[in-house]
């Protein structure tokens, strides 16, 4: 990794480069040597820094301030939430109440509709029509058995002649 010092100490680097160039002038030029790449002479390197023995200086005042700020922030947030909570719960309950009212109305409507359907199905005209379709007839007087309702008698099959 190139450090900022390495990058910005260009004059020194340029001097080193000029000296190297002068040495090269004294040599016979190599006809097959490739032209140098730009900034080929700039080298990057890593500098290992060991901070393991660095110990943070204790700063109780800053820590207290920090904790206090955090606590205050959380407290303020909680306070705001507590202030808003009834409204939020009221709104949720309102949705539920409205939903339940609609459900109640729907069930009442369904109940009324079923009551109407039952009444329509049990109308005397319909029963009469069904009886005619099934070819049911009024019984002959001789085949009717009247039970004495006061005596608690049970219905019996009357023999027909």
């Amino acid at each position: 990794m190139a450090t900022l010092a390495a990058i910005f100490r260009r004059p020194e680097a340029n001097a080193v480069a000029a000296e190297a160039q002068r040495e090269n002038w004294n040599r016979q030029p190599d006809p097959y040597q490739l032209r140098p790449l730009p900034c080929e002479d700039v080298y990057f390197y890593c500098k290992k820094v060991d901070n393991s023995r660095v110990v943070r200086e204790a700063d109780p005042l800053s820590r207290r301030k920090c904790w206090r700020a955090a606590t205050l922030s959380l407290g303020a947030a909680a306070f705001i939430m507590i202030l808003m909570l009834p409204d939020a719960l009221g709104m949720i309950a309102g949705y539920q109440i409205h939903s339940l009212e609609r459900e109640r109305d729907r069930l009442a409507q369904e109940c009324a509709r079923l009551e109407l359907e039952e009444a329509t199905l049990l109308s005397p005209q319909r029963l009469q029509q069904m009886a005619q379709d099934l070819r049911l007839v009024d019984p002959d007087p001789a085949h009717v058995v009247y039970l004495n309702s006061g005596s608690g008698a049970l219905a019996l099959n009357a023999p027909t002649k």
């Binding site: 409507q109 109407l116 009444a119 109308s123 005397p124 005209q125 009469q128 007087p141 009247y146 006061g150």
Partner: protein
Amino acid sequence: MRGWQRGEESEGARTTNRLVGLALVALVWALAILCRLVYLQIANHKTYQEIADRQQHRTFKIEAARGAILDRCGRPLALSLPVESVCINPLRVPDPTLAAGILGGVLGVDRQDLAARVERAKASDAGFLWVKRKITPEEAERLHSLKLEFVEFRSESERHYPDGSLASHVVGTVDFQERGNLGLERSLDQALVGRPGSVRMLTDVQQRGIESLATSAAEPGASITLSIDERIQFIVERELQAACELRHAASGSAVVMNPYTGEILALASYPSFDPNRPPQTEADQAARFNHPVSVPFEPGSVFKIITLSAALETTSLRPESPINCGGGTLNLFGRVIHEAKRGYGTLSFADVLAKSSNIGAIQIGLKVGEKNLLEYVRRFGFGKRTGIPLPAESSGTVRDLRLWGKSSIGSVAMGHEISTTALQLAQACAAIANGGMLVRPRLILKRQRPGGKPQNEPAEAPRRILKPETAITMRQLMEGVVLHGTGKAARLPGYTSGGKTGSAQIFDPVTRRYTHLYNGSFVGFAPVTNPAVVIAVTLNGTKQFGGVVAAPVFKSVGVEVLRLLDVPRDLPETAPQPAFDPAETNDVAIAELSTPPEDLAAAPIATSPETIAAPANTVVLAAGRVPSFQGKTVRAVLEESMAAGVPVDVMGSGVAQGQAPPPGAFLQPGERVRVQFQ
């Protein structure tokens, strides 16, 4: 080192300046917001509050369900279902043609017509337009699922009559706004309609309700329980319709009534109509006339029971007293009158009724006298409304005595120069059947608000108009009509019955003559000893007599009604029926003697009409010492109990062996005497 320190100081100063600048920007921003808030919430608070209210708050009208009408067993005769109606705000419709296409497809309305209506409403800046009212649940579900922004739903209710035409004249109908316009729906509209409520609701952007801000609860209408029995009503309507069609009658009426309480068990009018369908033709409108209540007619010979009752009370005539019928000819104040059928020489008082002799009735009427006859006509309730809670009840016509002509007593004695309704005839017959008490017909048993206790409708105290012995004698005379008189067709298998036939000629106002079309009537009761029902039947515009056209209706209705009411038989059901000769039923009252009905209608009515909502009192039951029934037959016990006004429960058959409470005990109001027979 110093340079580095100077650089650090200048850097710190720049940072401080930047922070100060940032803080100033934030401050300006906050001030701008604050100013805007002050402008919105303080300076223009009212304006924006109104805008917010319009957007967030919606007021919904809560329709009050119309009360149901039930029969005496709680079976619904009329009830309302909540339904939805669809409306739109045309100003919020982005594309009328597209909207009309969608709504027309879902609701089945004409798309082009709807698009044109939306365009017109939009052009006139109208913010409301009905699309379709009272849609079906399926249509509502489909439309709700589309979630169209410009569509709104309004809650309404729709009246249904599950039994169709059954008791339609009693129950009545409602108009499109659910307001009663006929029958009980009209007369009890205030009680049935209830009071609508409203709710102001805070809604979100999707128009979902969040909070109800102000609510006035809707008060549903009261449910009304009638004295009508659906099964009996069906039987009566079926038999009346069959008879009217068979006899080619223009119209018909039938009333079934409990003679003791006055409860109307059935009240039928022919022709009938289906209240679920609005009237389309004039015939539909004509079918809505409630004949037994609203259409009076000359009763004819049926009215002889009034004449004979008055005679038993005011003269020394008894059932066996001979009446000179003059061989079928009578000279009444210089006018010679002939019997409508073969003449009779001398008939007994009882046979005058059984054979329906007109001259015999005139002779009896002459003995009674004008004043007494009119007094008893009024006592029986003729000439004034019965007070039944149905609209347009007719009081009939009873002329004051000073308006009577010389021969009027003869006409009134046989049921002319007077007009009555079938309901009034049933009421009069009930007075004879129950031992002489005039009871007011009752149609409403109780009312009940949803969630409330049922409130019984108060009944008016009955009024004695005949002595008990007179009533019992009249019952026996009327039984004679059925056994060997003009009403043989009314004889019931398994039950004794009594009644009177009547055939009054109908006056033609064009030719100003009486025609040969009749109002054929029969009014009677059964069983004779302890009547359970009174039945009045009238067929208008027939070519046959009451004994032929109306008496069979009495018979077919009576048999089934008595079985339904579990009334014990007092005759063997297999007893042979008497031979029936239609020629013997000729009981046509002599119409030529009478003042035409047109002149009658022009004459002032003797009694002032009562209002429907007349104050009613509670029933006062007769209280007294219990007689001894020991060793007596069922018939004797029933006759004696009726005369004493003591209600009895018959247990077993044969001869009375025991009773509770014992003889001599005081009977509390509402208490009945149980008599054991062996």
